[in-house]
Symmetry: C2
Subunit: 333 residues, 2 copies
């Protein structure tokens, strides 16, 4: 076993070196989907600075924590949050068992596809939908339902699965940071268990590096079997002021880089960039109506207003999707 493990270690190293060489010799650019310019420079300069062992701005690998919002930062959030579309599909699926939903809001609006009434029901209404469709099952069952839905549902405009509507430049950024010793985390207002249904496969981010909103979960012995059950009760909302709290609770140290796209990320950006030493805060600005969507201050989903005003004074990088990204999605060629 000793020899075998050693052999395996050496082979792995050689393969690693070969992949590395071919990768860089083919194209010496870790961010090929990013146009050259100030935005890309700011990112690369930051990474080179914190990894330069001799430099003043060197940050040891243990402290290279980067956090990413998900909706609108790593994947699409228009015409509505993907998880909301999932919840609406679940309402339709569960409706036969809940005849009362036909006359009760927000379920009535959900069943009728009445997005105006739904939006008017506010956070309270949306949480009610989540509770009714995401609870009273085990985390394993919920993950299976989520995975099954993600494998079948398609976005009406792009005719693609939602997991294909992730931003190619951000995937490159995740890999680039990890190749430079960063630990990458998702810090999302979305549900932690929904995110975990695809974070490893799509982003290469393992379940324990996902921070998100959650409902309460209870442990019980059921027919002599230890079981976890998801309850229709809110546990934590990982949005706005909740993001630094979630980061502190889950990650236990302040990130040195944070990426967001909306006012929901404002406090995460503030918290991250107020720390000592080199810091990178960045906002994905949706400016490309043709290839994706253009929205900011007045958007119902992913509103970007205060955070955009604060970007300048705080030195946050504003990523202009239209100008800075050569390619938006992996499926474009």
């Amino acid at each position: 076993m000793r020899t075998r493990a050693l052999a395996s270690l050496i082979v792995t190293s050689i393969i690693g070196a070969l992949v590395f060489v071919s990768g860089t010799s083919a194209k010496d650019d870790p961010l090929p989907s990013w146009n050259d310019g100030a935005t890309k420079d700011a990112i690369v300069t930051f990474v080179e600075k914190v990894t330069d062992e001799g430099g003043d701005d060197y940050v040891p690998p243990d402290e290279r924590i980067a956090t990413f919002d998900n909706d609108g930062t790593l994947w699409i959030e228009q015409p509505a949050y993907v998880q909301l579309i999932f919840a609406l599909d679940r309402v339709k699926q569960l409706a036969p068992k809940h005849p009362e939903w036909k006359d009760t809001q927000p379920f009535k609006a959900a069943l009728e596809g009445d997005m105006k009434t739904l939006a008017a029901s506010g956070e309270k209404g949306l949480l009610e939908l989540i509770m009714a469709t995401h609870a009273e099952m085990t985390p394993t069952e919920f993950k299976k339902i989520s995975k099954d839905w993600l494998a079948t549902a398609k976005d009406p405009r792009f005719k693609k699965h939602y997991t294909e509507l992730v931003y190619q430049p951000m995937l490159e950024l995740l890999s680039y940071l990890r190749a430079n010793g960063f630990k990458t985390f998702i810090v999302s207002g979305g549900g932690i268990e929904f995110l975990r249904a695809f974070s490893q496969d799509v982003y290469g981010i393992p379940p324990d590096q996902v921070v998100g909103s959650s409902i309460k979960t209870k442990f019980e012995m059921k027919d002599g079997k230890p079981t976890l059950v998801r309850l229709a009760e809110m546990n934590f909302i990982d949005d706005k002021v909740g993001k630094p709290v979630g980061i502190n609770q889950h990650i236990g140290q302040r990130p040195i880089a944070a990426f967001g796209n909306s006012d929901g990320d404002l406090q995460m950006l503030q918290w991250t960039t107020a720390g000592d030493g080199p810091r990178l805060g960045a906002i994905v600005h949706h400016t490309d109506a043709e290839r994706e969507y253009a929205y900011d201050r007045d958007s119902k989903f992913g509103q970007l207003d205060k955070a955009l005003d604060q970007a300048g004074p705080n030195g946050w990088v504003v990523i202009d999707m239209k100008d800075d990204w050569k390619q938006i999605f992996a499926f474009e060629e």
Copy 2:
């Protein structure tokens, strides 16, 4: 930069290989502080089984999650939990600012060192002590206070810092598991921020791989500066039925191996070993009054009763400290 990174990769691989070779040729035993026998065999057999790519019991690295209780499993918990001793020292330190404590329980008992009354105040009393001594400061301030205390306080019996009273066989086990692709987590009833003050240095476990009990934390802008403040309000108790819940919330998947030592670990052991495929549950049984302590069913701290009864029927390994451990602490020679 490309050549440098490549050179660094190759050098790292060579060093890795050399360390590996010299490590094994010097002494072909990853667990030198463990006596040969059934306990050590059970652990090694499990690890070899789940890492054997050709075998039926192979578990991919992504799923190799191992969880460790802390008090009584990784470090000492007698004559009282280390964090309780810390809280009592904090009460004495803060007492001049709280003259009312002289006449209020459980503070009076804490100040007088009256452990009987303190124990009688139960979980509620102990939580009151924690709240009064651990809150109303930032996580950074709390971490500094914890680190300072750990650097100075000493155990009266062994005359050692508490961070020296960690079990050498368990440190070897943590390294052995990590060398075999496991991700190791602490899952403790202790405070998450207190644990993070030493988990990286002492156990090689980074802050984000620590799951523990916590008080609530609030984000606020204070004099224009983003700030987190610890509140005197319980957030989560990561003990007993809380452990599988904490694991699910934080790690997001069921461990394949869990190590505990008390009834506080019962549900974590149940949850871990009830999963499909190869599983390892293990209990550190304190049987060595001479080199450490001997206690189980009647102990005030780290009571081991129900979990001991369930070990046999569930196939959990009971680690007999006296018989299975050649050495208890690193400082013994």
